[in-house]
Amino acid sequence: MIVERPKLTIWDRLYMPQILKGMWITLKHIPMKRFTRQYPEETPPLPKRYRGVPTLVRDPEQRVKCVACQLCEFVCPPRAITVIPGFRSESGPDAKVEKEPSDFIIDMARCIYCGLCEEACPEEAIFLKKDYAMASYTREQMKLHKEKLLELGGIHEDRICKWKKK
């Protein structure tokens, strides 16, 4: 589209009226409402489906839900997940479950918060929580291990509890 260059009147070409108008606008903005959020004190409201840090969860009977199938490790696009499978104890609530990860490492420096691990998990053992401030001072600290992930995840209130019945 071709826009015709507007013909300026003397009033426009004087320039001053427009500057004064602009100054009036900026002056009006001085007492206006501020849009700044004072971050560490005021946190932003997060949407329901917000994807924050990925975590591991336990079932209501304190079992680690993850069975070390390594599907999340396989699906993870940036290869942030490393699962080291290990065996469970033969007795107690864990008796009927075959495997659990002996360590489960998510490198938060690599994670892209895509949520594919949560989607891929057949055991509903990994969830993306709403925490987002996961900064650290070193790359080593950015790697979250099993204990930390379970601590962040907490207990998932699931109604089925499949290992109880098996």
């Binding site: 602009g22 100054m23 606008i25 903005h29 206006m32 501020r34």
Partner: protein, 344 residues
């Protein structure tokens, strides 16, 4: 011994020097803070409000930060001139403040450091000196952006210095004096000169914006095109001195406008429209002067965050084709009116 007039004179001079330094070193850092906060408010932000109550200690934090920075000196700079330039920017503003009356009288002490008869001439001469600092900084940095900044600064100074001087001629014709105290004295009796000479006032303030390198005329800095112009190669305290100098120049410009057009330390009603006889009126006069200067500083900041930068040729065209003839016509018009009034 205390009442010996000669000794008293020396004490007064010392006190005045301390007051002027105090005014500069207290107002300037807070102008920086005010600029940052007002800018934020205009843009619907909050601005620095964390250091101290409402950010009031921010200037101290800024100064500390600048002092702790590494003082870089590149191999390709001209070392002597490079080191001298920041001082050259800061010094003239202090020198101009010496001739500006910042109050009437506190007891037996007149509130002006040097009551020169050619005060305004001195102020104009010295104020234009600060451009050397910028031009030399640009040249001594030996690098392209600072060089462009310095060149622009020099060209801009030449364009606007002329209008700056010419716009004041009608004032001198009316008051019949170049002495700043006398000009303020005239205004206490006849009202503010801004009312008599609105055109001169407008040209003067606009030219001062150009002199102080403030938006809309901040071409020497022009952070979008020249990164930050003449002070690219500077760091640490040298950069701080440039910064301080820029704001001190703004302060001086505000003080000049206040003195010349806004009636200096006076207000147009009873106890404040004549030189003070009692101490509290004298102190009030200083307060009035500072308040007017602060209002002018607000205008500087307000304009900066409203008006976008002029293009280089627009700046030159405005200086030479608009303000220069306008100032000349203004002189003629005022001269004709004064001649008519004298003869009729």
């Amino acid at each position: 011994m205390w009442t010996d007039p000669a000794i008293l004179e020396w004490i007064f001079i010392l006190v005045k020097i301390i007051v002027i330094f105090g005014l500069v070193l207290s107002i300037v850092p807070y102008t920086v803070l005010a600029e940052r906060r007002i800018c934020a408010w205009i843009q619907d932000r909050v601005g620095p409000n964390r250091v101290g109550f409402q950010g009031l200690l921010q200037p101290i934090a800024d100064a500390l930060k600048l002092m702790l920075k590494e003082d870089m000196l590149s191999n390709h700079v001209h070392k002597v001139v490079f080191t001298l330039a920041p001082a050259l920017v800061f010094m003239p503003s202090l020198m101009v403040l010496a001739v500006i009356p910042w109050g009437s009288a506190i007891g037996p002490m007149t509130c002006v450091l040097s009551d020169m008869n050619a005060g305004m001439l001195f102020a104009l001469a010295v104020a234009s000196f600060s451009v050397y600092g910028i031009a030399l900084a640009g040249w001594a940095s030996n690098s392209k952006y600072p060089f462009l900044g310095g060149m622009r600064s020099a060209a801009q100074m030449i364009s606007y210095e002329v209008c700056l001087g010419l716009s004041l001629v009608p004032l001198f014709m009316q008051t019949g004096s170049l002495n700043l105290s006398a000009i303020v004295g005239y205004q206490t009796q006849h009202g503010w000169l801004m009312v008599y000479h609105p055109v001169a006032c407008f040209i003067f303030i606009t030219s001062l914006f150009a002199e102080c390198n403030r938006t809309p005329f901040d071409l020497p800095e022009a952070e979008q095109e020249l990164v930050s112009g003449y002070n690219i190669e500077y760091s640490s305290l040298k950069f701080g001195l440039f910064f301080l100098g820029e704001y001190a120049n703004m302060l001086v410009a505000s003080a000049l406008v206040t003195t010349l057009f806004l009636g200096g330390w006076s207000l147009p009603f009873a106890p404040f429209n004549a030189p003070a006889k009692v101490i509290w009126v004298g102190l009030a006069h200083v307060g009035i002067f500072v308040a007017k200067v602060c209002a002018m500083l607000f205008l500087f900041i307000w304009v900066r965050w409203t008006v976008p930068r002029f293009r280089y040729d627009q700046l030159m065209a405005l200086g030479w084709k608009v303000f220069f003839p306008l100032a000349l016509v203004n002189i003629v018009v005022v001269a004709v009116i004064m001649a008519c009034r004298a003869n009729l």
